[in-house]
């Protein structure tokens, strides 16, 4: 069943994914790189959580850890839990599943799409075969039924002439088309959670707008949960319901998108927002305000609050201890001891 009819309204508060104190470490010659260090968040049915951060913040590793695709990177889960509620209502901790169990879950319950569809697609097989593969693997569909389903999926992701396109090879398609194919593959078995890691970063803006519209439409229709990993704060407002801002391997702030973007409670979110040029037509153009200093190396994170060496609000006590991720309002958290002053 490729074209899912809207599911009946269910409890939208039901978490599909519950990540608790997740830690992913890379052993290197120079020491242990703590790429993800104590990350917690929840993603509910039909909801999109954006994870936003600059390069090296740990946002992509978080996604890969949930998918348990760390294999070749050499990284290991050093702690925490990743609770997934399966379609049958059972909860499983992805952090502790053996690889064989993960293989059954990937593609059927959780799926992922990446920035570069060309390197994720197999160049020697027609796209139809690649969409049919998870259907045959997870749902045991016959070759013929899987092909028919693949054609339906191509139509679902907005590809014209699906009956012909099913036999084309990746190199015959444009970047936007390839990303549509990746979405078709990811959605083939109707996963409960889709992790999209910078899926539109390599695309032109007009094509990016198409892909975002498609993802949102499919997500609403299937009440799928989505984690959207991006560096682009502008995009967060277009795509997500909630946003978690990451800095130096940790979540520094989380909350509903409109709230966080209009009233950030963490100085880093605030600084990040002031260095993106916002369109304010008719007003004198402001200079963008860069954040002083650079992102700390994951091998030498500052003591105390990780952002304090670059923070305009830093005081002596900020260097003393790492602030906890505090609840500051319903559905809002921030990791800053001065959030009350900043938030007001």
């Amino acid at each position: 069943m490729a074209k899912g009819a809207p599911l009946p309204e269910r409890d939208s508060q039901r978490p599909v994914l519950d990540v608790r104190d997740l830690k992913t470490f890379f052993p290197t010659d120079a020491g242990t790189v703590r790429a993800v260090n104590g990350v917690s968040f929840v993603v509910r049915e039909g909801e999109t959580l954006a994870i936003v951060g600059e390069s090296g913040s740990g946002k992509s590793v978080t996604g890969l850890t949930i998918m348990r695709l760390l294999g070749r990177t050499g990284a290991e889960i050093a702690g925490g839990e990743i609770w997934l509620t399966r379609g049958d209502g059972q909860r499983v901790d992805l952090a502790r599943q053996p690889e064989a169990a993960m293989e059954r879950l990937r593609g059927s319950e959780i799926a992922m799409i990446f920035q570069d569809p060309m390197s994720s697609l197999n160049p020697v097989f027609p796209v139809g075969d690649q969409i049919a593969e998870p259907l045959r693997l997870h749902k045991g569909l016959s070759r013929r039924a899987a092909r028919a389903a693949a054609i339906e999926l191509l139509e679902l992701v907005g590809i014209s002439d699906p009956a012909q396109r099913v036999d084309t090879f990746p190199h015959q398609l444009s970047g936007g088309m390839r990303q549509r194919i990746m979405i078709a593959i990811a959605l083939a078995c109707e996963p409960r959670l889709l992790i999209a890691d910078e899926p539109t970063t390599a695309l032109d803006v007009t094509v990016q707008a198409q892909i975002i519209a498609l993802l949102r439409e499919l997500q609403t229709r299937r009440r799928m949960a989505m984690i959207f990993v991006t560096h682009d704060l502008h995009l967060v407002g277009d795509v997500a319901d909630r946003v978690a801002v990451m800095y130096a391997s940790q979540v520094v702030e989380e909350g509903p998108v409109a709230d966080v973007l209009s009233r950030p409670a963490h100085p880093y979110t605030r600084a990040l927002l002031s260095c993106i040029p916002r369109q304010q037509h008719g007003q004198p153009r402001r200079r963008m305000t860069p954040i002083p200093g650079t992102m700390p190396s994951a091998l030498a994170t500052p003591h105390g609050c990780r952002f304090h060496p670059r923070c305009a609000f830093a005081e002596d006590r900020c260097a003393a201890a790492l602030p906890s991720l505090e609840s500051i309002a319903p559905q809002r958290t921030a990791r800053c001891i001065r959030w009350r002053e900043i938030w007001s």
Binding site: E54, S55, S174, G176, M177, D204, V205, T206, V207, Q208, A209, Q210, I212, A213, R216, H231, D232, L233, H234, L235, G237, D238, A271, L272, C275, I276, P277, R278, Q279, H281, G282, R285, R286, R287, M288, T289, P290, I291, T294, M295
Partner: protein, 320 residues
């Protein structure tokens, strides 16, 4: 634009086709524009629109198929190679990838000294002093001279690349996606640097980018390209607050954070056609929601909408 001010750069009817298997790739097609002294002209468009080719044509780093480029009244397109090499000191370029444009085995000082001495006969000490001065101009210091590129972050490397471009004291700089590879916090830093160089030294800048929000911040005017042709060129405030071409509107609305979400957007269908086989008439018509039969007939000329704002669209009846 006042009539009296002769432009620093005058590009007329510039066209570049690249040979390919089958029909040639029409990268840039009959483009004309001026850049004034000290002016920042933004060039925006999606991949394959010809913006990078146009930047290279403006500096004659590649040869045009037809058309001319004049710099401060001097014709570049007919200049002999030797003369062009000397002339290049007035016009420099900064590229997207600061990692690829610096030699990893050369100290920053040596790279800058090389650039300084290429155009000016300076002694070693003088050249080193000049290199140190260049570093200070871009917000670094003389102590960085003896370090290698690997010791610097992406933003710092882009500052070094800019310092090197400034070595011969150019009057015109082409920045081709110069901040696109950088994180936002660093992007702001480099954009501010370019802006202050422009204000301080009266540097003219052609700022090529796919990022409309950065172009808005830095540019005085901007040009929107599609399949090698100018769709619209206008002062920055007009372009962003009252765009006149359907493609400009689509591009502004498609940009994330453009203020519109979901159904209100002018969502374009399909993707850019191949530049080897551009549509007849208006090249944008195949994706334009307002296309009519007449759009397929002739290439629409650039017409004035209001002073300084020109569009290549025959439909004057649209409220965009």
């Amino acid at each position: 634009m006042t009539e009296a001010a002769a432009p620093l750069l005058a590009v007329r009817g510039i066209t570049r086709h690249f040979a390919a298997k089958g029909p040639p790739v029409r990268a840039v097609e009959d483009v004309s524009f001026d850049i004034q002294r000290g002016e920042v002209l933004g060039v925006v468009g999606e991949s394959g629109c010809g913006k990078s080719t146009l930047g290279r044509l403006a500096l004659r780093l590649i040869e045009p198929t037809t058309g001319t480029v004049a710099f401060d009244g001097t014709e570049l397109t007919t200049m002999a190679p030797q003369a062009l090499r000397r002339f290049r000191r007035h016009m420099q370029m900064v590229f997207q990838d600061p990692f690829a444009s610096l030699n990893p085995r050369m100290t920053i000082g040596d790279a800058l000294i090389e650039a300084v001495r290429f155009h000016d006969r300076l002694g070693k000490t003088e050249a080193r002093d000049r290199a140190a001065a260049l570093l200070r101009q871009v917000g670094l210091s003389a102590e960085h001279l003896d370090r290698y590129p690997r010791a610097f972050s992406g933003g710092q490397r882009q500052r070094i690349a800019i310092a090197r471009a400034l070595a011969p004291s150019p009057r015109f700089l082409v920045a081709d996606e110069a901040v696109s590879a950088l994180d936002v916090s660093i992007q702001a830093e480099v954009v501010n640097l370019l802006k202050s160089l422009q204000e301080e030294f009266g540097l003219a800048l052609m700022f090529i980018s796919h990022d409309l929000s950065v172009v808005e911040v830095i540019s005085d005017r901007a040009m929107v390209l599609y399949l090698g042709r100018i769709m619209e060129i206008a002062p920055i405030d007009d372009l962003y607050s009252r765009p006149a071409h359907p493609y400009t509107v689509a591009l502004l609305q498609a940009a994330p954070g453009g203020g519109k979400r979901g159904g209100d957007r002018l969502l374009l269908k399909g993707e850019i056609p191949s530049p080897s086989a551009p549509p007849s008439g208006c090249v944008f018509r195949t994706r334009c929601p307002f296309a009519i039969a007449d759009c397929a007939r002739d290439v629409p000329p650039l017409t004035t909408v209001r002073p300084g704002q020109l569009k290549a669209c025959i439909r004057d009846d649209l409220t965009l």
